[in-house]
Symmetry: C3
């Protein structure tokens, strides 16, 4: 192997890592767009079939196993009686191999559940794992978060909505009591 | 053409795409900084002369044609009687050719119009198009958004401002009624 | 030098710049995570020993000289009686040489000081300088910001916290009066 081809191989690895970081950021960016608009079809493509979830809030805890349970739980919670804003800031992506990576994200979220007259806001740190599947697409295979702070306001008046996309894209709110 | 030079050509294309993504993100980042500080001179450089705009809010709709109309409309609205925060999150940039690209952004905005005792907050999804001009600079050539949610509070007390940059960089608020 | 090796050298420079931009963004991302969780040990690694700071708020001004003074000031202020959210958006990173770079960031922050019944919110533009140290790590060597807007609410009721990480990771709040 010549020096030139060795240099070229190193550059290829460097570029692949930069492309992987871009791709992984995009997966999480799409994730936030999809949850807040209840786009469950596109969301499903972003998750590994064996994805594991552990979200620790102040007033709730989610422990989920597998894509089907995760998507179903999201669909149930992001219903027509909710308004959701989930923004992921400050990505710290580390590519560990050709098919594995980790990520830290700083979440800021606002979630109104008008059925329960509740508004939850706060921040959290995600610690995720990503895996590249056989078709070359990165997916979320593990997602956990721990809150930095959380504020619950209840009872709270419904916000003065002039637009409410989840009201038309979300699943109808359940009639039985069903907490986030 | 040797194998090495073919590999090199592929790497150059990959790197150019990564550089284009960086450059396009920067254009939009500068855009948000410029609108919220009423920096219309720098803002102008970020827009293609033929830029088309369609923003659909809950209480307003902007349909604008060309850079001059866009800059004039922004200058009129981001006046001394307003406080503005526009943050673009979660960029999903797709480079389509050497001179064309698209982008999705998740907007979070807060806008006080103290003249009308109004505060508008919410989120929206931008769907933009970008074009590289003859000098190699990317510009926004199309920008549209649709709201995820919007909240209008009116009448609302003016915020307890201890700093208000638009109060000195913005255009004087019109004396006649002029809605965002 | 052959044409191929010249091309290769140019690609290497381009890739190094992209890697530097990623690395610098990560430094600032870690910075925000560390201040809001009072992780002073990790924070220290992100700062150049000779870092200079000038933050101009509406109700405060910080002029700090050197890492020790900066870390001590942060540790004192992000204490158990505070709740902090500092998010840096819209990075505009410019690599100026192999070891020097600049960055503009758009800060959105919320800071409750429950001891003083005060809540400060607002936005600001950071103008930073970064330097790569002898071990190849980028650090913040200068950080300044100017507010776009700032709102002070005082007296304000404490937020209805259901999680409060700084309450356990922060330094105990001083008993003597000590303003941010």
């Amino acid at each position: 192997m010549t020096d030139l081809s060795q240099e070229l191989a190193q550059l290829e690895r460097d570029i692949q890592i930069l492309k992987d970081i871009e791709a992984i950021r995009n997966v999480k960016h799409k994730y936030f767009r999809c949850v807040d608009t209840a786009n469950m079809a596109e969301l499903k493509e972003l998750l590994h079939p064996d994805v594991r979830v552990h979200f620790i809030g102040g007033t709730y805890e989610w422990t989920l196993d597998g894509r089907d349970e995760y998507v179903e739980t999201l669909a149930k919670n992001f219903n027509t009686m909710t308004v959701a804003q989930h923004n992921g800031h400050h990505p710290e992506i580390t590519v560990q191999s050709e098919t594995e990576a980790t990520g830290i994200w700083y979440l800021h979220d606002i979630f109104w559940n008008m059925k329960f007259k509740a508004c939850t806001t706060g921040t959290a740190l995600y610690r995720d794992k990503y895996r590249k599947n056989g078709e070359g697409r990165w997916q979320i295979v593990e997602s956990t978060y721990e809150r930095i702070y959380e504020i619950l306001e209840q009872p709270v008046e419904p916000p003065g909505l002039t637009v409410h996309m989840l009201g038309r894209t979300g699943r109808p709110a359940p009639s039985r009591s069903d907490k986030k």
